[in-house]
C-alpha cells in the first residue's frame, strides 16, 4: 500500500516488477501491515479477512446507495 490514493497505489504496484531488487520494488509499500499480519495466527488472518470483507461490502453498498452502481459486476454481486 502506498501513502497516496488507492488508485495511485494500484498504478505504482502495476509498474513494479516483483523480480526487481527489494530496495526498488518495496518503495511506497507500508510493510507495517505485513508485520501486523504476521503477528496473527493463520486462522486469525482468515477470520480478519472475513471481517474486512464484510466492511468492504458494507461500504460498497453505501457507495451504491449514494452514487449508484458504476461497476457492472457490483450490480450482480448481490447474492
Amino acid at each position: 500500500m502506498s501513502n497516496g490514493t488507492p488508485n495511485r497505489a494500484f498504478e505504482e504496484a502495476a509498474s513494479i516488477d516483483p523480480g526487481t531488487p527489494a530496495s526498488i520494488a518495496d518503495r511506497d509499500i507500508d510493510f507495517s501491515l505485513l508485520e501486523d499480519s504476521l503477528r496473527l495466527t493463520p486462522w486469525q488472518r482468515l477470520v480478519e479477512n472475513d471481517r474486512a470483507l464484510g466492511l468492504v461490502r458494507m461500504l460498497e453498498k453505501a457507495g451504491t446507495r449514494t452514487h449508484g452502481a458504476t461497476d457492472p459486476d457490483s450490480r450482480t454481486a448481490e447474492p
Binding site: A14, L38, L46, N49, R57
Partner: protein, 158 residues
C-alpha cells in the same frame, strides 16, 4: 454477508478433496490484502463434484460467468472434462480450478501443499514457494502487490 471461512468449513465437512490456493492462501501465509473469493484446486472427478454440490447445498450456487446465472447442479449430464468452475454462493465467490499456472495439475498442486490444522478441520494449503510460482506465472497487475508481500514473507522465514 460473505464468510469465506464457512465455505472452507463446508468443503471439509463434506470431505471435498481440495487444496486452498489464490488470495486466501496468501492471507493464510500472511499477505495483508483483503481477498474476495475462495480459490481451490481440486480433482474434477464425479465423486468430488457430488461432494462439492452437497457442500454448497442451500447456498444457491450459480455459475457466475454465465449471463443467466445458471444454478450449479451436478447431474448425470454434467459436462465431462471440465477444468474450472466459477461459482457464486450466498457465502461468497468460490472458484474451483483443475490446474494452477506455474504449478501444474491437481496432483502437482497437492504435492506442493501443506496440511494446516484449522478450527474447520485439516485444510491443505498451497505452500508459500508454490504460491509465489503461481502468482509469478500469472503476471497479472492485480497479483504484483501480493507477490511482493509473499517474497517478503519468504525472506522473513528464511
Amino acid at each position: 454477508m460473505e464468510q469465506l471461512t464457512q465455505i472452507l468449513e463446508r468443503l471439509n465437512r463434506e470431505r471435498v478433496e481440495f487444496v486452498l490456493v489464490g488470495g486466501l492462501a496468501g492471507v493464510f501465509h500472511g499477505v495483508p490484502l483483503v481477498t474476495r473469493d475462495v480459490d481451490v484446486c481440486l480433482p474434477f472427478t464425479e465423486q468430488n463434484l457430488f461432494r462439492l454440490e452437497r457442500a454448497l447445498d442451500g447456498l444457491n450456487p450459480v455459475h457466475r460467468q454465465t449471463p443467466q446465472r445458471l444454478a450449479f447442479k451436478v447431474a448425470d449430464d454434467f459436462p465431462r472434462g471440465l477444468k474450472n468452475l466459477y461459482l457464486r454462493t450466498d457465502l461468497g465467490v468460490l472458484d474451483c480450478l483443475g490446474e494452477i499456472s506455474g504449478v501444474g495439475d491437481y496432483l502437482a498442486v497437492r504435492g506442493r501443499s501443506e496440511p494446516a490444522e484449522l478450527p474447520v478441520g485439516t485444510v491443505h494449503i498451497l505452500s508459500l514457494s508454490a504460491l509465489i510460482d503461481a502468482k509469478a506465472a500469472l503476471d497479472r497487475t492485480q497479483d504484483k502487490l501480493a507477490l511482493i508481500h509473499l517474497r517478503r514473507i519468504q525472506q522473513a522465514r528464511s
